[in-house]
Symmetry: C2
Subunit: 302 residues, 2 copies
């Protein structure tokens, strides 16, 4: 099934203890759609400025991503600059220039409006809802959010949450959204806002998935080299939603596999700056790492 | 097989956001031996002062633990006082009184010297080696340690590590011991010191086990109520070593199950202050939680 994503396409400048990258391709929707493109056909909605080079669009097209919904507007593209300490667990934002992203109000191309699967990446929750309303009859809708919206646009966010099937956020955001330190309690509270499935990302520790009364836990893949965590969460969401878009049913079995595909795509993404690892990634490598997750977590029951 | 443990038996005073407990039974060897007693017969080596009440010894005996190796000496028992913040992830030590523990030089009872399985809990590494030398021909030896010894007694610790099969430590300690942030690299370096199996505990996130070229990852059990994390690591080690002591072989399959039994015992322990949850714990509950770990982590391979 086709997977629509709305989010940011940006220039990132990132410094980690292992190197730095200047004005490279980034943004939630770029990471998400590239990761998802290994599973299904993706329809991308975003805004770019006059400075955005054709080569990045060519790359997205080379991944089979439909870019009809990328609008080019006068001005500069969204830019983010961040830095990671030696522990690589959290980025320190040094600069954010919203630029053309500031007045982003997407008008979906006609050909996108029948999208059966939708991912609303981390943007203003009012905008998420605005986009969702333009999709005719979606079968499966997921969204992401962040502390900025939890703190500043809680009412709009609660409204968006009432309209989605799945919420994918990190542990700090889950705790803040629920105002509850205990993650199991926080999950219950968040699901009472609407989402029937909740995925809580825990960075280097993996992810927890909550659905009905069950919980599924998947680790992050233990890597000897982590170069740049930027986009790990969006790559996770891309692998997760990309796989679900290929499934007839979103049931316990497929959701668990989707979480592992999410962790798989995130684990590749952090092996290089920007989307560079995904530029060279092969289907066999994805399959092989999925199976490595099985070997990593398997044990005999008693 | 009989499992010998040497470590502390102490009075703990603990404050968490959910309550407090004053001078309750604690200490690494008390937690370890109680958890291990659900699996095998345990021989406990520790020192207590004149103030240690018979009721605590009676409790240990009621768990089938051999306490012949508990020496009562003039003076007061080891005391520890600590506090946890709302996130419950790390204790802030408020007071430590070594008391009789300060001059602890255990002389193993004759009946302990043939112990096939040995756990050297977190004590001075020189003392760990001193105890190990008194065991005739151990089949399987594991130890724990902490930042205090890594910083102050590194040479003695390296010597102890050369004599053990298994090291069980937490992630911060692993990073400090290896002087390496990346856990996979840190694990390789630590195993070059001697242990052929390394278990890295990650608190609320679970544990990683390294053996040869393989890694096994087990989550912590997601609990809605965590009252007191004190002793979680020692209960983990008790479940882990207790189960291994029942196995003919320490191979990949049994080690993975041992990690899950470790996580199982730790997950019970944090549900109440002191060893209170383990006072009431039933074999069926252990079995059922082990199986819940299976449900928590299972997914279909591709």
């Amino acid at each position: 099934m086709s997977l629509l994503v709305v989010g940011s396409v940006a220039f990132d400048s990132v410094k980690t203890p292992f190197g730095e990258a200047e004005s490279v391709l980034g943004g939630s929707a770029a990471y998400f759609s590239t990761a998802a493109s290994y599973f299904t056909d993706v329809r991308l909605v975003a805004v770019i400025g006059e400075d955005f080079p054709e080569e990045h669009l060519d790359f997205l097209k080379s991944r089979g991503i439909n870019i009809e919904g990328i609008e080019r507007r006068p001005g500069r593209t969204f830019r983010w600059k961040g830095e990671y300490s030696y522990q690589l667990n959290e980025a320190k934002t040094l600069e954010t220039e919203l630029n053309v992203f500031e007045s982003f109000h997407p008008d979906l191309p006609q050909s996108y409006r029948d999208s059966p699967v939708v991912f609303l990446a981390n943007i203003d929750p009012a905008l998420q809802l605005e986009v969702l309303k333009q999709v005719e009859n979606p079968k499966l809708v997921a969204c992401d959010t962040m502390n900025f919206w939890i703190e500043g646009k809680l009412d709009a966010l609660i409204q968006t949450l009432a309209s989605v099937d799945i919420l994918i956020i990190n542990d700090g955001e889950a705790r803040e959204l629920a105002r509850e330190v205990n993650l199991v309690k926080a999950a219950k509270k968040i699901m009472s806002y609407g989402p029937r499935i909740l995925v809580i990302k825990q960075g280097e520790y993996g992810a927890l998935m909550f659905k009905n009364q069950t919980i599924f836990s998947a680790p992050a893949f233990p890597l000897e080299q982590v170069f740049d965590p930027t986009g790990a969460g969006d790559s996770f969401a891309g692998g997760f939603m990309g796989y679900l878009a290929t499934c007839d049913k979103t049931n316990d079995a497929t959701i668990r596999q989707a979480v592992v595909y999410g962790s798989t795509m995130a684990s590749f993404n952090v092996e290089a700056f920007s989307l560079d690892r995904m530029r060279a990634l092969k289907q066999e490598e994805i399959k092989s790492r999925f199976q490595a997750f099985k070997a990593l977590t398997a044990f005999e029951n008693i």
